[in-house]
Symmetry: C2
Subunit: 200 residues, 2 copies
DNA sequence: TGAATCATGTAAACAGTTACATGATTGG
DNA sequence: CCAATCATGTAACTGTTTACATGATTCA
């Protein structure tokens, strides 16, 4: 067992639980909906959370035992035949409290979008004009594909009928995705016509 | 000097220069405009690039010698009185080639926006309704502040008159910033009225 | 007088990814 | 018969941040 630090403290008197990492928070959030194994939680991330937060599967497997060590989840060993035993994780009371703490009290850290596309465009003067145009076109194509997938999810949710209540909060994030990619495509069109006008 | 790995190779025959990190690319980009010291480059990042890519100052100081080791920059020692000598970095021919390679050939990695805000909203069912509303309001306020700063930059550039040619590519990224935060505010308004309608 | 600016960097921690390892079962 | 799915994890590495260290100068 290597260094496990689940507490931070400036002086030994006032020890405070270490803040959750994003992956920890995401997993607690998923567990708050229902228990599951690492494999199953990874699937759920792929299906519903990938646009927002998509840790690698190995990362999920690494984080889950840490959640148990912190007392935020319990592990139940479900024996299986023909496969490794399934480790099913369940949220504890303290886990739910930690999740709520993260959700409600955590500071609103300003986003850092690691987006090399904009960085490239920023240095567009160093590129061949055709390469700049192709860069923006590629970004637009990517946005169109993503938008199409989001629209498909949107239709799925709408098709759920009155049963779609459980998607209430998810739906806001989906709506933001739709807004975002629509805005991106509009901007790309304006940018492209300016670039083509000048260089095309 | 610890392990320095500036080449990756599957077999010794076909060795290929290691791809640039985002920070390396950003610094090469800045150096392509003009030479500067670590301190001065950090300032330029804060002033003009922070919305796109903002490495810590210590990161800048760590990366610059690596650029020299790779042959992408040269260092000139400028003696000073009363302060540490200034290390002025200048882009080399090979550095410019590496930058262009990164700009033009690099794969378009899809963005991963580490944005805990959306994750929180996604798990809004675990929050008190007032906390959800406050979360979205806070995000909207933040967006308004950022938008105001972007608008100020916009006015500055417009005020440059015909001299604003050198901001040609920067301007596209600024325009995207404006679009993005406007879309975000619209979405926040729609979301808030829905939330307030249901819980308020 | 004391905060901000100029100027450099190191050491350690952190949060995550990639690559690797294993192996039965199920579906086309 | 082969690919995909189910199921777990470790080891090594990576890119970046935080905290620390130092000290003169300038400005309010």
């Amino acid at each position: 067992m290597a260094r496990e630090r689940s507490w931070t403290a400036s002086s030994p008197a006032e020890r405070v639980p270490a803040p959750l990492t994003t992956t920890e928070a995401a997993l607690l959030g998923l567990l708050s909906r229902s228990s599951g194994s690492g494999y199953e939680l990874s699937k759920r991330i792929e299906r519903g959370l990938a646009f927002i937060w998509a840790p690698a599967r190995s990362g999920v497997y690494a984080v889950l035992p840490r959640l148990v060590a912190k007392g935020y989840a319990s592990r139940e060993d479900v024996p299986q035949t023909g496969r490794p035993d399934k480790q099913v994780y369940r949220l504890t009371r303290r886990g739910r409290a930690a999740l709520r703490e993260w959700l409600e009290e955590g500071p609103l850290e300003s986003e850092v979008s690691k987006n090399p596309f904009l960085l490239k465009l920023f240095f567009g003067a160093e590129m061949r004009p055709e390469a700049v145009i192709e860069l923006v076109r590629a970004r637009k194509r990517e946005a169109e594909e993503t938008l199409a997938r989001l629209r498909a999810i949107d239709r799925e949710i709408l098709a759920l009928g009155p049963d779609r209540e459980k998607e209430y909060f998810n739906y806001f994030t989906l709506k933001w995705g739709l807004e975002y990619y629509r805005a991106l495509i509009r901007w790309a069109d304006a940018t492209l016509s300016e670039l083509e006008n000048r260089f095309g």
